[in-house]
Symmetry: C2
Subunit: 286 residues, 2 copies
């Protein structure tokens, strides 16, 4: 069983709409939406070996800031709950979290400290976005272009030992500015690809009730070891790029770097050059 099927088992308790995105939304009833997101990470499954405490702190903040960015929101605050096996880890860990938050305009404003068997972190972040700009996984329309920011696959390459991309894996850069620009330009849907491009496309397909026809000739494949580029690009997790859909007419207004990789089609599913793409990516499993 993986975390996606487990989530299915509690949708009736929380709501279909509420479980469809990485962020929860709260209408401030003054034209603004408060978005929030929470992420649990822990030593044995989420932090690659050899990471410093600072990098673990940075990554913990970055995963949540990335979710907030994917709504088009401006992050404002982070809360960091830390379960520690060794209390001396706290200071360098929090230096990393605070540094990442500051870099992207947010403030670590609180948290909780607990003793635990292993380092366990839950970072919760809040952001604010104008209601008219708020982006979700749903909303993609047939005919829209499918676009991404960044180069998927670099974090996976680092995980497989490519030292050139070590920073992509260990101190990832949430696309906070790009997210706000994409939302302001009028994207119809957006999410981050931290679980991998393929699985993210399937998630968006489900939420938007559309499909995606990709063209491999348009892929900005990563410069990685021979034979791995397409695999890393489609299925590697850990990259913090944004996947978004937008109408052709609105694209010229977008002042951000992006790659168009295909278009939205009416039928649910994901295809590349006409062939079905495998539904696979990062997932927790039991």
């Amino acid at each position: 069983m993986d975390d996606r099927s487990l989530l299915d088992s509690i949708r009736h308790l929380i709501g279909e709409d509420e479980t469809a995105d990485d962020c929860a939304a709260f209408d401030l009833l003054d034209g603004r939406i408060l978005v929030s997101s929470t992420d649990m990470l822990h030593e044995t499954t989420d932090f690659p070996k050899g990471m410093t405490e600072f990098e673990k702190g940075w990554m913990s903040a970055a995963v949540t800031l990335s979710d907030i960015a994917s709504c088009g929101a401006k992050p404002v605050q982070l809360l960091v709950a830390v379960g520690l096996d060794d209390p001396s880890r706290l200071v360098p860990f929090m230096e990393g979290a605070v540094s990442c938050a500051k870099t992207f305009g947010a403030k670590v404003s609180g948290g909780d400290i607990d003793s635990h068997i292993e380092l366990t972190v839950v970072t919760t972040g809040f952001g604010i976005v104008e209601k008219t700009h708020y982006c979700r996984r749903s909303g993609a329309r047939a005919g829209d272009l499918v676009c991404i920011t960044g180069t998927p696959g670099l974090a996976m390459a680092a995980l497989e030992g490519d030292e050139r991309y070590r920073k992509n894996l260990l101190t990832p850069i949430p696309q906070v500015k790009a997210g706000q620009k994409i939302a302001a330009a009028g994207a119809s849907s957006m999410m981050d690809v931290s679980d991998g491009l393929s699985i993210s496309l399937f998630d968006m397909s489900e939420a938007s009730n559309v499909g995606f026809a990709l063209e491999s000739a348009k892929f900005n494949l990563p410069d990685v070891r021979a034979g791995s580029a397409r695999e890393y690009y489609l299925y590697g997790g850990g990259d913090f790029g944004l996947l978004f859909c937008i109408s052709r007419e609105r694209l010229p207004a977008l002042d951000a770097e992006y790659t168009v990789i295909g278009k939205v089609v009416g039928e649910k599913g994901v295809w590349c050059d006409g062939e079905p793409v495998e539904k696979r990516g990062y997932a927790h499993s039991w």
Copy 2:
């Protein structure tokens, strides 16, 4: 080392003001404050033996709702991050969390699911309070009355085996309505006593730079086994009552049940009938 001294080691990173309360605050700049709080609980240290999954879910929501209540805020949303050793625990656990949230006017709007060595939960909640009503641990003034809601010590009695108070320990009731009424009546400071009354008084003394002179004759001692009432009352954790200070003039406007237990004095510290009270309560330690 305990969690209070560990928090001291990161105050320079987060800010003195930000680490002084159980909730973080964000000014919505329209007369409202968004308060938020996050709490980590896990099987081996936080859930008494014999609890059902439902009760664990309820308690996880309740601890956070209690923090939000202590600011005088109306809780609106909860995010629940759950690390599971066994995925079949999720549904009954979430039923408890959702039930507690609903009972107190909040909505579970999202979360995260992870695999973990042991059940580990981080609940993060948001609430909204008018700026003029927002209560903190700081703000108590010499001459104010010191008051509490509820009967401290009942959860401790249950932990020691008194079955009459099992519900107080396992499905605690956050004082959400009372918190809003106390704040609206103009309390100068407020916090919950979930770590115990004594340690909470010391925390408030530090934050408000005042002291507390308690009168034992005013204590609403719990009906517990002989010789334990005062110990449980002052030092037992797990109760979700509110501790607040308020001027004598404002008290008549307060439409809630409370007990006046003493008064605020200028010198920092906590005394009972003139004798120093021991600084002790619930703490995580390594």
